[in-house]
């Protein structure tokens, strides 16, 4: 019976989600209770399942498509992380969503989403995984659409972008399944032949788009302003990253053998590096708490992809560790953003200021998470970034430089954010602001404490969670403890100090914390690029829609032209043919006689020639 228990993390939230949908609107408490209890049950099961190897399979459909689940070290680690975040954010939502509409929908989507993520992580059949993976599409659409009145536009954008990536993933899975003639993930081992390379690229598109890397990212900042905040903390902040990176690790270390110095490895590293730089540059100039964070949610993925793309063990470990750390500090940051939104009524940095005194606990959590994301020792972000740096330096200086530059801007933008929101001038409107309620604070505190714990005792996550999952690749090497290369640490610290100096310099010449990076924003050359980016000239989604628009008008004309042949040409041809025939039948005896004679001649010729 223990095998069937593997389906529980999928079933419990799903059933709870449907239950929530059936409860009438008046019973708010009941919905919250169900959501919290279901996610708690999920967490307990995940803890109990942790580290075990369980396999469960049911026949589902033909063609090798089975309902098979497999729990190994990697998936049990991801499952644990997913359930933990699921539970904490459910607790947080109870308070955050209290006075909102659409509660029923929110909790239903939330739980269904949790169920699907667990399903995708546990699936041992590629098609089953795709079923859960792509199934989230509808849920994400709904979740964003209930945000505010105009949120449906963002929801559409998210839907289209994710759907395109998922279709690519579908093609990739079909190819992989065909090449290895099985859909069982645990049985697939493909050498990277050219065709397998194509399959890998399509699977990779699915994986990195789920984790929100460029160029599949542009719905995330829009969702940050429109969707309910727990959604941001939950999905783009934590779960999608976990899922996307999980799958990337699966394909690059297990299903395919990605080796250093292969083209695919360079492609992955390139995507990682570009994502780091571009997204962090955009984050730097944002003037909205949530939007700024959402760009970081994109930028941080770059580190993970860069780490895994290096295809050396230290990089993969770093990428996975960074994924875990990022999920922690990023969801914590989003949760502080939500607390600020709830208490101060806005996330516009122009209208915020001096909140550190009003909301000390929130501020403390923010501080911990911010130094973690900036990579300040000894917080968790520092250690994972060092591992990634190490691997990047091994593969090429340019990637290392990109990662460092990203670090500099990350630190700079968090100095700006912290300064503008929590210090600076106190505003009239902010006089009445109070600290957030406990259900909101507890998840933040827990996660922030985790950031410190996983930093100071980094052996704990590395030895217990991550390295066992990849033991086959490591060959007994242990990456916990302080980084071996002292020069890397020195350079990191120098970069962080440079960011601090830059901030102080910026505050001095530009006047306030909010404007601390204006000298970069309005620097010659950069300003123009920023202006265009802000006007969305670089948004692949908008560009794509324009291209589709052009094509559709061309093909529509083509279609109309075909229709014109039926409506006009064929009708005219028929008319003119019958008209000319009519003219010949004008009642003139001589003409008719002529026709008859002509016919007779033809008949004679025909008869003679066939004889």
């Amino acid at each position: 019976m223990r095998e069937a228990g593997l389906a529980l993390p999928i079933l419990i939230p799903l059933v709870a989600g449907i239950l929530v949908l059936l409860i009438p609107d008046k019973l708010r408490r009941a919905k919250e209770t169900i959501a919290v209890l279901a996610s708690l049950a999920n967490l307990i099961i995940a803890v109990r399942l942790f580290g075990k190897g369980v396999f469960f399979s049911l026949p589902w459909a033909g063609f090798g498509i089975d309902f098979s689940l497999n729990l190994d070290r990697l998936s049990s680690f991801i499952l644990l992380a997913v359930s933990t975040f699921g539970f904490l954010i459910a607790v947080y939502s109870c308070s955050f969503m209290r006075r909102r509409n659409c509660l029923r929908q929110f909790y239903c989507y939330y739980l269904v989403c949790l169920s699907f993520v667990c399903g995708a992580v546990l699936s041992n059949n590629l098609l089953l995984m795709l079923f859960f993976w792509e199934g989230m599409l509808g849920v994400i659409f709904g979740m964003i659409a209930i945000g505010n009145k105009d949120a449906f536009r963002t929801a559409l954008k998210a839907f289209i972008i994710i759907a395109i990536a998922d279709l690519c993933l579908m093609l990739g899975i079909a190819l992989t399944g065909y090449l290895s003639s099985t859909f069982e993930i645990s049985k697939i081992r493909l050498p990277l032949t050219p065709l397998a390379g194509v399959a890998f690229v399509f699977l990779m598109i699915g994986a990195i788009s789920k984790s929100g890397a460029m160029p599949f990212h542009t719905w995330i900042p829009d969702a940050a302003t429109d969707a309910p905040l727990p959604f941001m903390a939950f999905l783009p902040g934590a779960l999608e990253k976990l899922l996307g990176i999980y799958f990337l690790v699966r394909i690059s270390t297990q299903m395919f053998d990605l080796v250093p110095d292969s083209k695919l490895s360079f492609i992955l590293m390139g995507i990682g590096a570009i994502t780091i730089i571009c997204a962090v540059m955009m984050a730097l100039i944002q003037k909205d708490y949530k939007r700024l964070l959402s760009y970081h949610a994109i930028s941080q993925v770059g580190y993970m992809i860069l780490g895994i793309g290096t295809a050396v063990p230290v990089g993969i470990i770093g990428g996975l560790f960074h994924m875990l750390n990022n999920a922690m500090y990023k969801s914590c940051l989003f949760l502080t953003g939500g607390a600020v939104e709830k208490q101060a009524g806005t996330t516009d940095l122009e209208k915020l200021g001096g909140l550190a005194r009003k909301m000390p606990v929130t501020f403390a959590c923010f501080l911990v998470a911010a130094v973690s994301i900036s990579g300040v020792p000894p917080f968790n972000g520092f250690f994972s970034k060092e591992l990634v740096y190490d691997a990047a330096l091994e593969r090429g200086f340019i990637f290392y430089a990109a990662a460092l530059l990203g670090s500099f801007f990350t630190a700079a933008s968090f100095l700006k954010l912290g300064h503008a929101a929590y210090f600076g001038k106190k505003r009239q409107e902010n006089e009445q602001v109070k600290e957030a309620s406990w259900p909101m604070l507890i998840p933040m505190i827990v996660i922030a404490a985790g950031c410190v714990l996983f930093g100071v005792f980094n052996g704990l996550p590395l030895n217990k969670l991550i390295q066992p999952a990849l033991s086959a690749k490591l060959g007994g090497h242990d990456y916990s403890g302080f980084p071996a290369n002292i020069w890397l640490i020195v350079i990191t610290v120098i970069v962080l100090i440079a960011a601090l100096i830059n901030h102080l310099f910026g505050v001095k010449i530009n006047g306030s914390g909010l404007k601390a990076v204006d000298h970069i924003h309005y620097a010659p050359g950069l300003k123009k690029i920023y202006d265009l980016a802000e006007k969305r000239y670089f948004d692949p989604y908008d560009i794509g829609l324009k291209v589709v628009g052009v094509f559709s008008s061309i093909f529509f004309r083509f279609d109309r032209a075909i229709d014109w042949i039926y409506n006009n040409l064929s009708v005219k041809a028929a008319y003119s043919a019958s008209e000319s025939l009519r003219r010949m039948h004008n009642g003139n005896y001589v003409v008719y006689l002529g026709w008859s004679l002509l016919g007779l001649v033809f008949m004679i010729i025909f008869l003679v020639s066939t004889k």
């Binding site: 795709l130 599409l137 559409l156 289209i160 093609l171 399944g177 090449l179 559709s552 529509f556 279609d559």
Partner: protein
């Protein structure tokens, strides 16, 4: 003998029963409606009964020998029964919806007669194993659909009905030529006989071309597709019946019957037809993005999805055929749902132009949700049924290894997402631009039923897929 009687009953109960409907309508319209539904449901139930026989691997055949190769042959195999269940089921739901929809209009007796007759002749096509009888039923559907498309009798409607009629009948005549040329090769119209004679050698190309012409005209494939969007002037249940569920699937079915289950064709067709299908899918997909009339958008979408089905069938490996068959079922359910939702919207707002609609999710929540579910199924998003059919097609392209086609197919799949979302967005989201109320209970019930079945088709994929797999095994002759 039970099986043979079942086949005859499935075809002739609706075909003959239909003519009594106007008579019954004189006494009681309610009774007429119920009996028309009953006729279709009998077909459905009997088809299900047949399913239990053919799924065990048996094939039921009735032969009445006639000279000149005109044997009257009816055959029930997995393919035929699958198709019969699909179309009679969707037909029954559409009839149910008609109770609400058509009650506002005149000539109801004629409507029910035509619809039931249509479904009956569809059954005739499905079970006919003789090309001439197939042709007769085929033309019967053309005549009936001509009358149904022009049901509202306005000048434009009649013009459009004529157009549809002319194109499909022209196609059918060309197909008849193809049948005759086949007869010259083999000396029989009976597919079972033809199959024996042509066991090893492929069919001559000119015959294939002629037959394909008719099939493409009926199944609205580029360049013979433009009658289909134009036929959107018909009452909504009729468009659902013709465009989505039944009429356009005739061509696809006959393709499967003749070219996959019975005869061999030359290899070149396995490249030409998928390419044409992809082109058709892409062109109509783009056209659906520009179109502003809701029913025309959905009609273009049908053209596009039919392209997918042809694509799978013409690639011809086991995944492609299975995907195509599953697609017939899933697309039929979802597309019928979309057309019926469009009918509710149109009837309650009196507006067809999507740019003048908006925000209807507040006033018609059930219709909106049903529309969304059906769209998701057509797009191929799990957990809806369309997901599996699309995936099988991807699998068949992967096995086929023609990369150009694969990417064209991917592009068409992306377009599907775009135009359906666009339509949903314009009609149901955003500002409310017009007064509206939810449709009548029976109409809403039918669309919700179709939407839920699309969902169930995905979750309980085992049952349809098992059926499809046994059909594929029978068609391709693999154990």
């Amino acid at each position: 003998m039970l099986g043979a009687n079942l086949i005859l009953a499935i075809i002739f109960i609706p075909v003959l029963g239909a003519f009594f409907l106007p008579l019954i309508g004189r006494f009681s319209s309610r009774l007429r409606n119920l009996i028309s539904l009953l006729l279709v449901v009998i077909s459905l139930v009997l088809s299900c009964k047949l399913a239990s026989i053919v799924l065990s691997g048996a094939t039921i055949t009735i032969i009445k020998h006639f000279p000149l190769g005109l044997n009257f042959t009816l055959t029930a195999d997995c393919l035929a029964v699958f198709m019969a269940i699909t179309s009679s089921f969707i037909g029954a739901v559409i009839l149910l919806y008609s109770f609400g929809y058509i009650s506002h209009y005149e000539n109801q007796s004629e409507y029910y007669l035509l619809v039931v007759l249509f479904l009956g002749s569809m059954m005739g096509i499905i079970f006919s194993q003789n090309l001439i009888f197939l042709y007769l039923f085929w033309e019967l559907t053309a005549v009936v659909s001509w009358r149904l498309i022009g049901f509202f009798r306005k000048p434009l409607d009649i013009l459009r009905a004529d157009k549809a009629f002319l194109i499909t009948v022209f196609g059918a005549l060309v197909m008849l030529l193809g049948f005759i040329s086949l007869y010259q090769e083999v000396g029989s119209f009976d597919l079972t006989v033809i199959r024996e004679v042509l066991q090893s050698r492929p069919l001559s190309n000119i015959t294939v071309l002629l037959i394909l012409f008719g099939i493409f005209a009926k199944s609205a494939t580029l360049p013979l597709h433009t009658w289909l969007p134009d036929a959107g002037v018909a009452p909504s249940p009729v468009t659902a019946l013709l465009h989505a569920a039944v009429l356009v699937k005739i061509g696809v079915y006959v393709y499967a019957r003749i070219f996959i289950a019975s005869l061999n064709i030359e290899q070149i067709w396995h490249i030409i037809i998928p390419a044409l299908a992809c082109l058709s899918a892409i062109v109509s997909g783009f056209a659906a993005l520009v179109e502003t009339d809701l029913k025309r958008i959905i009609a273009y979408s049908t053209v596009s999805q039919i392209g997918f089905i042809f694509f799978g069938f013409s690639i011809g490996n086991e995944f492609g055929v299975a995907g195509g068959l599953l697609y017939i079922l899933m697309h039929g359910l979802a597309k019928a749902g979309l057309f019926l939702c469009a009918g509710i919207v149109e009837q309650n707002t009196k507006i067809k132009d999507v740019t003048k609609l908006g925000g209807l999710i507040k006033t018609m929540p059930f219709t909106a949700i049903a529309f969304l579910f059906c769209s998701l199924s057509v797009m191929g998003v799990p957990p809806f049924g369309g997901f599996f059919s699309k995936f099988l097609l991807f699998l068949s392209t992967a096995k086929n290894g023609q990369w150009g086609l694969t990417f064209a197919f991917l592009a068409a799949a992306v377009l599907t997402v775009l135009y359906l979302l666009r339509a949903f967005n314009l009609v149901f989201l955003g500002e409310e631009k017009s007064e509206a109320k939810e449709g009548s209970p029976i109409m809403v019930f039918s669309v919700v039923l179709l939407a839920l079945l699309s969902l169930a088709g995905g979750v309980l994929i085992k049952y349809p897929l098992d059926f499809v797999i046994s059909a594929v095994k029978q068609m391709l002759g693999v154990a």
